[in-house]
């Protein structure tokens, strides 16, 4: 599925296939887009995120059962990030759930819309209405230490300082916009869900105040603050605890799909845990073995070259008692050091919204 904004993107845009979506990986260069995101403000084409609406009298009950966090009282001015699990506790997708007046709206992770839709339909015991809105709505993001200024110039200064995960229904040039304070990279972050016919206009207007950044810069900046990227981190058989996504699950909820498996993983303890590392030469491929004192303790999950660190940055899934910061490990024959997150301190943390 191509981005609805493809015609608005520059010719030199490099696209890539992420799950079911064709998304702009970069518009210019990774270094430049990364710098924009970390130092100024970036506009993101999040068209690869599927949008699925759940409505009907049992919409909340259904959502409460399939989502791993508590959404019973998710009002129309709030959103939250959570997981959908299968009965075995395996991650199906990581979503942003928006409370709506008549139900709930789910935004899938990049390229996972079709899988999410299929999962929802397969679990629809309540007979709720599940509508794929990806054809008529799309998502634009703003991210960066000065993204709040762009919000003020583009829409309304009042929205810039919204608390995290707050949502406002607003309008822009006559179009209904669901505006949310979110953030993937530790920087000030916002999302705008807009009708596709207005998306190109909003994109162009946004570019008057900020520069575009592609999926590569976004995912790098996400990794640097340990924001989970499911397409890289969810591996066959890994539990929520091993992935390190327990914060996206609420086991105090009486019931949700996959709860028993998560509880079992919590109670079992042991297993593996995910930890960040940097250093070494080159970027190890996923699956590269991780060693310490000649012992195989796990594998690399995902690694990239971090522009911010000027070094390799990756995640390793290793024996739980070795998933700690400050350890020297061997990855692919070179030495790396484990880290505590965030691996980069976002500039936004020291910049107030005025």
């Amino acid at each position: 599925m191509a981005s609805v904004l493809a015609s608005a993107h520059p010719q030199e845009t490099v696209y890539g296939q992420v799950g079911d979506a064709t998304v702009p990986l970069r518009f210019s260069s990774l270094d430049e887009e990364y710098k924009v995101l970390r130092e100024r403000a970036a506009v993101l084409d999040l068209g690869g995120h599927g949008l699925i609406e759940i409505t009907g009298p049992d919409a909340v009950a259904f959502a409460q059962r399939v989502l791993a966090r508590d959404v019973e009282y998710l009002t129309s001015d709030r959103c939250m990030m959570t997981l959908l699990l299968d009965a075995d506790g395996q991650v199906v997708d990581q979503v942003l759930a928006f409370g709506r007046e008549d139900g709930i709206l789910l935004e899938s992770s990049c390229g996972a819309g079709a899988r999410l839709l299929a999962h929802l339909r397969a679990n629809n015991d309540e007979g709720v209405e599940i509508t794929d809105r990806s054809g008529d709505l799309t998502v634009l993001g703003l991210e960066g230490p000065y993204a709040w200024g762009v919000v003020g110039r583009l829409i309304d200064a009042e929205l810039a300082s919204l608390p995290f995960e707050s949502v406002v229904d607003t309008t822009w040039n006559g179009a209904d916009v669901v505006f949310a304070r979110t953030g993937f990279t530790g920087e000030y972050g916002y999302q705008m869900i807009v009708p596709v016919e207005h998306a190109a206009d909003l994109w162009r207007q946004s570019l008057e105040h900020a520069q575009a950044a592609g999926q590569e810069a976004l995912e790098l900046a996400m990794l640097e603050v340990r924001q989970p990227i499911p397409r890289h981190e969810v591996t066959e058989g890994a539990t929520v605890v091993e992935i390190g996504a327990n914060w996206l699950v609420d086991v105090t909820k009486d019931e949700f799909v996959g709860r028993e498996a998560v509880l079992a993983a919590f109670e079992a303890g042991g297993g593996r845990r995910t930890v960040g590392f940097s250093g070494g030469e080159g970027v190890p491929a996923p699956g590269t073995r991780v060693w310490v004192n000649g012992q195989d303790i796990g594998e690399v999950v995902h690694a990239v070259h971090s522009v911010g660190l000027g070094a390799t940055l990756g995640l390793a899934r290793v024996d739980h008692d070795l998933a700690a910061a400050g350890l020297e490990l061997t990855v692919g024959g070179t030495e790396v050091t484990t880290l505590t997150s965030p691996y980069i301190v976002p500039k936004s943390w020291s910049i107030p919204i005025i």
Partner: protein, 783 residues
């Protein structure tokens, strides 16, 4: 046409920057602040030492010897109250005691002269008694917004015609525990605070301030000089966080906008803004946003200053202290400065004009005074140069109905369970309400909440669902919430006090944020997303009916169509007992073993009849009339005189409720006041006084009391009486006094002694009581 103009004719103040209005203003305009290091050695444990303290001799020098034994809070309040009455030149011959009210804002539960906690409303009762005030009496406790809120509520009491003069103000002393709490929140500045520039924290202060409000026509008729008009006020709830302000400034902006709308003015009319300006980074940043949201491009042209760097943050008094400063600013056409302002540009919010360091003479016709509080409660006052006499309209009468009930009591949670308990004659006195089987808020909030907030949220949610209200987000922005409580969270207050006693530098900060009485109301707003007008009433067992009055005033003035009233109080030690021998309270019985204390929360939805009809809602009952009467609070020389005063207050409250019903055109076929009276008896000797007054004032009515069902739960019992009266009117259900053998007054036949009624009653009267202070009566009728 506009409503009756209400003016300020007297001012009183005592704070660190002056012992009276003249000295206060002289110091404000010459930049002489009053923040000094606290000398008391107990405070040596804190790094931050500056506070706004009132020298003892300023207090003693203005009080007669007969007041010397009173506690500091009462003495501060008396100084300011007497000054305000004196400046207004109001004498007893010019206003009847019955029509002279007092609305007091107070944040802290303050100690008596011996250092023990006393009821929140005690300070107010003392002032009322010394000044001979027997009119409307409300203790408002919206933390740091209370003083401003009191001025607004006072205006309402004049508009409803209940009072011809009202003393409105605030008071709070400097308390060690509160100091430790703010220190624990890292909210104190180590030196004198510097609002709007350095913004590195606040200083606490103490003081009292009062404004005497009168209708313009009466003030002019008696030759008084109007100092300013209270043109309007606005309340709002952030629905965001227990202590931090909504960073967008939405809540603060909405209070200003509501106040301007109430005054019939626009932002363009405002010349000066008296800011809250505590000096904390969160507050100061949020306030800059309020200025920009309200005034837009004009924000930089509207000077706004904070006098907190003169007097410190006087908490419940702050809004009244700043209202006094605002009236003086109008009178003298001078904006007081923000002293301690660092003008090197560091940290200041760009283009805004904070009147740095030097007072500024300038034409001022309209002032907005803002206050923001823990619990996300905001208040704005609009004060204007007084206009001349002019014709006005009475506050319109609008029919209000009760459409939803949310009882959370030891006898049952929800209407169905409670009804079942009533019909089965089962009581739950002394048993903690059960919240098993359901969370009433997002778990992320619920798990951090204290018990009282959980009870109140459960009650609110149940009342809301019972009313069948389904409102879109934008309508919730105008739904009002009035919280009523006698003492707030005993759990948090106890936990905080224990932590301070153990180590003042390690206060239980989460408990501290819940010590303010309005915290629970704020938690309800946050959980249900209600951003309409909000306030918190703390008049003991009479709080709920006073809260209902506030709700009715919001509906009458068109400020809200839907108001949620929730009352909650707890008794430490009540446990969730499944079985066992619970003591059965026996109200009105001469053989009663005394009161059984309990914990409960009870909410009810009050709606304009129009709004209810438009959505096809099914009301329980219409609110026909309410009445309150303040007792002569003593000190009585003997118990008999006290009982007489209470009996008189009960009789007057019933007569007022009944008269209000007649005035609003309600008529009854039977001619009796009500078929059923749900009284405020609690099983103590005072029950006989109430019963005798009821039997005389509402002949033919049958009497019962909710404490038979749940024990005495303070404010929640008052609310339960109202809820049960509503239930009797619609569903014919009323609790029975099954154990009543020998009534303290009247015959057994005058009481409900068997579960169930013969059918719905046409009218039911609910009584509330803060004995020795205020008695309330609420008359409900079939719809």
């Amino acid at each position: 046409m506009a409503l009756r103009p209400v003016v300020v004719t007297g001012l009183g103040i005592i704070c660190a920057a002056g012992r009276d209005p003249a000295e206060f203003w002289q110091r404000l305009t010459t930049g002489q602040g009053g923040l000094t290091p606290v000398e008391d050695e107990a405070f040596a444990v804190f790094t931050a030492r500056h506070a706004g303290q009132v020298p003892d001799e300023w207090i003693a020098g203005q009080l007669p010897g007969s007041d010397a034994a009173l506690d500091r809070t009462a003495r501060l309040a008396l100084v300011a109250a007497r000054q305000a009455v004196g400046m207004a030149g109001l004498t007893a011959s010019e206003v009847a005691a019955e029509r002279f009210g007092i609305i007091l804002g107070k944040c802290q539960a303050t100690p008596d002269a011996a250092g023990r906690y006393q009821p929140m409303h005690r300070t107010q009762d003392v002032v009322a008694e010394r000044l001979g005030l027997r009119g409307p009496r409300i203790l408002v406790s919206t933390a740091c917004a209370a003083g401003g809120n009191a001025v607004g509520l006072a205006k309402d009491k004049i508009l409803t015609g209940e009072a011809d003069a009202v003393l409105a103000g605030g008071v709070d002393p400097l308390l060690f525990g509160t100091y430790a709490g703010f220190a624990g929140l890292q909210a104190l500045s180590t030196g004198p605070c510097r609002p709007y520039s350095h913004s590195d924290g606040l200083n606490l202060g103490e003081g009292a301030a009062f404004l005497l409000l009168e209708p313009l026509d009466l003030a002019l008729a008696r030759g008084a000089v109007p100092l300013a008009e209270v043109a309007g006020y606005g309340l709002s709830a952030d629905a965001y966080h227990a202590t931090a302000p909504d960073p967008t400034g939405r809540g603060g902006a909405s209070a200003v906008r509501r106040a301007l709308a109430d005054a019939g003015l626009t932002p363009g009319d405002v010349q000066y803004v008296s800011g809250h300006g505590t000096g904390t980074p969160a507050n100061d940043a949020m306030e800059a946003k309020v200025m920009r949201l309200v005034f837009g491009e004009r924000a930089g042209q509207v000077p706004t200053s904070s006098i907190k760097s003169f007097v410190g943050h006087t908490l419940g008094a702050a809004g009244a202290v700043e209202a006094v400063a605002s009236v003086l600013a109008l009178r003298h056409a001078t904006a007081p400065p923000t002293i301690g302002f660092d003008d090197d540009g560091r940290g200041r919010a760009g283009d805004l004009d904070f009147v740095p360091n030097v007072a500024r003479p300038m034409p001022i016709g309209t002032v907005v005074s803002n206050n923001y509080a823990f619990g996300g409660n905001n208040v704005s006052l609009v004060l204007t140069t007084p206009g001349g006499p002019r014709p006005y309209e009475e506050l319109p009468r609008r029919e209000a109905v009760i459409t939803g009930l949310g009882p959370v009591t030891g006898a049952g949670t929800g209407v169905a369970e409670l009804t079942e308990a009533v019909l089965a004659g089962r009581h739950g006195a002394g048993r903690a309400p059960s919240l098993e089987g359901r969370t009433f808020a997002p778990r992320s909030l619920w798990r951090h909440m204290n018990h009282l907030s959980r009870l109140a949220i459960a009650a609110s949610r149940l009342a809301w669902e019972d009313a069948g209200l389904k409102l879109p987000r934008k309508d919730l922005d105008d739904v009002a919430l009035i919280f009523a409580t006698g003492a707030g969270s005993a759990e948090s207050t106890g936990g905080f006090d224990e932590s301070i006693a153990a180590n003042p530098n390690k206060p239980a900060v989460l408990s501290f944020s819940n010590v303010v009485l309005n915290a629970t109301g704020g938690a309800v707003c946050q959980t249900l997303g209600l951003r309409g007008p909000t306030t918190t009433i703390c008049n003991g067992g009479a709080s709920a009916s006073i809260a209902l009055d506030c709700a009715l005033e919001l509906i009458r003035s068109g400020k809200a169509e839907v108001v949620l009233v929730v009352a909650a109080d707890e008794t430490p030690g009540t446990a969730a007992l499944d079985t066992g021998d619970l003591p059965a309270p026996s109200p009105y019985d001469s053989g009663s073993g005394g009161a059984v204390r309990g914990s409960a929360a009870v909410a009810f939805v009050v709606e304009s009849a129009e709004h209810c009809a438009a959505r096809d809602g099914r009301p329980y009952a219409g609110v026909l009339g309410t009445g309150h009467a303040s007792g002569d609070t003593g000190p009585h020389t003997d118990a008999e005189a006290g009982a007489d005063a209470d009996a008189d207050a009960v009789a007057r409250s019933i007569a007022r409720a009944s008269a209000a019903a007649s005035e609003s055109g309600a008529s009854t076929a039977s001619g009796s006041v009500a078929g059923l009276v749900v009284g405020a008896a609690d099983g103590t000797a005072g029950d006989g006084v109430e019963a005798a007054a009821v039997l005389a004032g509402a002949p033919g009515a049958r009497l019962t009391a909710s404490t038979a069902l749940t024990g005495d739960c303070q404010a929640a019992s008052g609310a339960l009486n109202i809820a049960l009266a509503a239930l009797a009117v619609r569903d014919g259900v009323a609790p029975a006094l099954t154990g009543l053998a020998a009534p303290r007054a009247g015959d057994l036949a005058a009481y409900v002694t068997k579960p169930g009624l013969d059918g719905p009653v046409e009218r039911a009267l609910a009584l509330t009581a803060a004995p020795g202070s205020v008695r309330g009566a609420v008359l409900l009728g079939a719809r």
